[in-house]
Amino acid sequence: MEDKQQPLFSAANRKLLLTPIGKNNPITMQVLGICSALAVTVKLEPAFVMAVSVTVVIALSNLIISLLRNTIPPRIRIIVQLTVIAALVILVDQFLKAFVYDVSKQLSVFVGLIITNCIVMGRLEAFAMANKPWQSLLDGIGNGAGYGMILIIVAFFRELLGSGTLWGYPVIPEAAYEAGYVNNGMFILPPMALIAVGIIIWIQRARHKELIEK
C-alpha cells in the first residue's frame, strides 16, 4: 500500500518548503492572511515575533490536522480545524505573555487574530487535509516563512524610514538630522503598510512576468 519511501529532503519536499517563500508567496500571490499581518509592521521586533508565532501555528496545525485527516468527518471539519488552531493560538499567546510581555502588549489583539488568519485555514483546507504529515509540516513552515518574510520587509522599511531605528536602535547618524534629515512620520501610519505591500507585489510581478494578472 505504502508507496516508495522518499528521502526526508527530496527535491519534491524541498520545493514544498521553498516555493511559498518565492513565487507562490501566501501574501502576494495567494492573497491570504493580510488581515492581521500589516498592523504589526510598524516596528521590526513585533513583526518578527508575529512571523515566528504564525509559522509555529501553521506548521503545528498542519501537522496535527494531517495526522487526523482520515478520522475527521468532512461535514464538521471546519469546526475541528478551528478548535485545533484556537488551542495552538492560546498556547502561543500564553507563551508570549510569559516570556516577552512587552511585545505581547504591542501585538494586543493581533495574536488572537491568528485564529481567523486565512493563511492557517487556507493551508489546512488546501494542503493538510490531503497530504502526509511530513509534507504538511514542511508546507506549513514554508508558508509561515513566506508570510514572515513580507512582514519583515515591510517592517524594516517602515521602522527605518518612519522612526530612523532598527530593532529599537537608532541607525540614522546624528549628523544626518543636524543636516536637516527628518523622519517620515507617514510611514508609522497604517496606510503606508498597504502601499508598501502594493509596491512589493509590483516588484515581484515585474521580475516574474508569468504572474501578471490579465
Binding site: C35, V89, W202
Partner: protein
C-alpha cells in the same frame, strides 16, 4: 447618549476596521470586484457583528473575566478564565453564523438569496473576531456601548468595501502598468483611501 454617539462615529470613521487595523482584508480583496457583491457582504458583516458583539460581551463579563463568576457564588470570584476567550469567541461566532443562516433561510428567502453565499465566509472574517477582541481589550462599560461599537464597525467596513469596489470598477478602464494590475493597484488604492480617512482623526463629539 453622547457617549454612545461618540463610540459610533469613532468606530465608523476613525478606528475603521479596514483602514486603521486591516481587519477583514481577505474577504475585502476577494469580493470587491463588483459593487453588488460587496454591498451584500457588507450588510452581512454589519448583521453578524451587530448580533455577536452583545453576546460576546455578555459571555466576557459574566463568565470569562476575572471575578466575573461571582454572580453564581461569591467563592468563585477568584477565577480568571480569560485565557479561554479566543476559543469561546470563535465558537460563538461560528455558531451564530450557522444559526443566523438557518433563521434567515426560514424567515426571509429573499434576504437569504442576497446574503446566502456570504454568510459562511463570515465566520472566518477577521473583522468579526477582531471586533470581539477589541471589545475585550477596550473594556466597554455597558452592553449598549458594545453593541453600538459592533454596529459602527460593521458600517465602517461596508463603507470601505463599497468604496473600493466602486473604484475598482472604474480602474478596469485605466492604463495601469502590467505588473501592478489587479492586486497591486488595489493595495495602493486602499492605502490612499486610508490616507483620506485619516482626515477624520481627532474628531470628538
Amino acid at each position: 447618549m453622547e457617549n454612545l454617539l461618540n463610540i459610533f462615529v469613532k468606530s465608523i470613521f476613525i478606528d475603521n476596521m479596514i483602514f486603521a487595523y486591516f481587519l477583514g482584508m481577505c474577504s475585502y480583496l476577494a469580493v470587491s470586484k463588483t459593487v453588488k457583491t460587496s454591498v451584500g457582504l457588507g450588510f452581512a458583516v454589519i448583521f453578524v457583528l451587530g448580533i455577536t458583539m452583545p453576546i460576546n460581551y455578555a459571555i466576557e463579563n459574566f463568565l470569562l473575566k476575572k471575578g466575573a463568576l461571582s454572580w453564581i457564588n461569591p467563592e468563585l470570584a477568584g477565577i480568571d478564565l480569560s485565557f479561554l476567550s479566543f476559543i469561546i469567541f470563535i465558537a460563538v461566532i461560528a455558531a451564530i453564523v450557522q444559526l443566523v443562516e438557518m433563521i434567515v433561510e426560514k424567515i426571509s428567502p429573499t434576504l437569504y438569496n442576497a446574503l446566502g453565499i456570504f454568510l459562511p465566509l463570515i465566520a472566518v472574517n477577521c473583522a468579526i473576531m477582531g471586533g470581539a477582541l477589541f471589545m475585550q481589550e477596550r473594556e466597554y462599560a455597558s452592553i449598549a456601548e458594545a453593541s453600538v461599537f459592533g454596529l459602527g464597525s460593521g458600517i465602517g467596513w461596508l463603507i470601505a468595501v463599497v468604496g473600493i469596489a466602486a473604484i475598482r470598477e472604474k480602474v478596469r478602464y485605466s492604463n495601469i502598468p502590467a505588473p501592478l494590475r489587479g492586486l497591486g493597484i488595489t493595495f495602493i488604492i486602499t492605502g490612499l483611501m486610508g490616507i483620506a480617512f485619516m482626515a477624520f482623526m481627532g474628531i470628538k463629539l
